[in-house]
Amino acid sequence: MSDKPEKTEQPRLSVFKTYKLYVGGKFPRSESGRVYEVTDAQGRWLANAPQSSRKDARDAVVAARKAFGGWAGATAYNRGQILYRVAEMLEGRRGQFAREVADAEGLSKSRAAAVVDATIDRWVWYAGWTDKIAQVVGGGNPVAGPYFNLSSPEPTGVVTVLAPQESSFLGLVSVVAPVIATGNTAVVIASERSPLPALSLGEVLATSDLPGGVVNVLSGRTAEIAAPLASHQDVNAIDLAGADEALAKELEIAAADNLKRVLRPQPVDDWAATPGIDRMTAFLETKTVWHPTGSLGASGSSY
């Protein structure tokens, strides 16, 4: 044993990360064994991302369906706590995500940091919505008869989300958070060219008390993964944010087979702007419950 370590001029060799899918709370490789090359904005190699297959998509739906009952049935307060926890976990990894977003989107360090901050704040915004949306979009109906009649929003079920192609992190979270804030579960197809921030987000979600299966992240060829999801009979809705016009039409036709709720691609100029509630209401059903009120006597209360 030498007491004088050998001096070396070589820099430390960094440890690459093997990016994996996030399905059912676990981190599998694609069952197809395929990967594809992900590069930065300059075309430099960043990583090999899993190239998901139809089977991966179907597995993700199974996981999302399994998680739906528990997540939809959780209290809105609890869902809010967990969404806020995601923000907490992200806050500690700002540096990592700023690097990943800078690489993915070719942004300067400071621009990427601002995007990550906005993304964290987006989680906080939706965390606050979970226990308020029912009060905003539900309510009592003054029917003309002796009935107590209440309309409440309920999650529609398993939602396939085609994440926006250009905004790999802020755009991604802007379409995923509203889906799960209201109690749906999601199968998310990451940006095809820039999937790495989405795959890393899976690691954050896994450590944020979010039950496994509530969010499932797939990477690969958007059109290839989306097709079986749009025609999947156990998917209740689809958000086409990341589809171009031709793909959106094709998927919308497939979605009609079991009358999925479809959110068509909406032009978004600025993902950083405060969202409205449309992305939440798009994936809510309204349930109206009637009950006779009866009567305690011939005359009403005199207060």
Binding site: N141, A144, N149, A256, N258, T286, V289, H291
Partner: protein, 482 residues
Amino acid sequence: MASAFTSAFEYAPAPESRSVVDIAPSYGLFIDGEFTEAADGRVFKTVSPSTEEVLSEIAQAGEADVDRAVKAARRAFGAWSALPGAERAKYLFRIARIIQERSRELAVLETLDNGKPIRETRDADLPLVAAHFFYYAGWADKLDHAGFGSSPKPLGVAGQVIPWNFPLLMLAWKIAPALATGNTVVLKPAETTPLSALFFADVCRQAGLPRGVVNILPGYGDTGAALVAHPDVNKVAFTGSTAVGKAIAKTVAGTRKKLTLELGGKGANIVFDDAPIDQAVEGIVNGIFFNQGQVCCAGSRLLVQESIQEELLESLKRRLSTLRLGDPLDKNTDIGAINSEEQLTRITSLVEQGEAEGAERWSPACELPNAGYWFAPTLFTNVTQAHTVARDEIFGPVLSVLTFRTPDEAVAKANNTPYGLSAGVWTEKGSRILAVANKLRAGVVWSNTFNKFDPTSPFGGYKESGFGREGGRHGLEAYLDV
């Protein structure tokens, strides 16, 4: 209807006079404020399903007529949408009032053309039609308070296709919110029930509604398809079968047309062992025999807790034996005619399939009139979830009875359907009502009641029962750019 139970208390005939309604031998299309022939001169006949009497000859709209009507609606849109909400409101209030004034005439007309009992058109359809126009009239000048932003905009021309089961009520559900929000409409009524929509055109004339704001195009499925596909239609609203709904969703895919669909159902009516049996029996009857069962939200699957099955079925059969089937214009009639020969054939074939699959069929002693389209109220017992009569929407007076032991089983069976429109829960236990209602995947849940409707109350389905809601504040969204 003759039975041992009713014979001691026979009712004298109590026919409503049909002289209150004056049906012309022929009607045109209503386009741009005027009645007009179809471009290719085609016509079809509408018959009374209870007698097969030809009531009138109706112009049948083709593609050219659809184009003409959409153009008229587009021309009218600018001025109509620019009108202050308070002025639009007044037109709708006028329409509501005129409907009330003419409600007896319209009720008789609807009974003649549809076959449903006057008791229902008079006491359910027409009051609700007027109420819908009143309700949405009041929204027209309050849209900025409706929760859709500070100045929500109308969409433009709405193409609306409605079914034959509630011809005038479905028209009201479609036209009232469309006009209140500033859209103009082209509406296609069903081919078997076009008359009340054409009378509504006359109501619009009396109300002084600007020309082109409402256009009515009677026709068959191809007319509806042309309307849905017209490139200058901005919004499509459809009520009808799930199969047609899916075809429409495919037609509008890739366009900017906004779509709402109210489709089929296979509603579960769940009766627990602590339910008030007599009220539950009334609710079951109302749930499946109202409008001859031709209701998308009908409670067509009775789920009864095993321990009370015998008692409940006995009460139910006794009650069914008192239902009176016959002349829909008789004020004592409970069950009228099936809307069309085609529908009768469909019901008959599904019921035969039910028997062939081993379900047990029962009907009270029931004489059917010689002319017209009739089907006796029918119960199926020994039904399993796999049976066709437990899965397919029959859209007729046919109730399938299944049993369950635990609340979990009731919920699982109730939700075991691609549909999700309505459900009923009967129990004295409040916590059970709320727990079960929470778990049911259905847009409307009636507890200790069934088939109640109100313009303030949103209505619409989960899953393959369609999307969007009609009625209430929620119903505005379908006609606003939000």
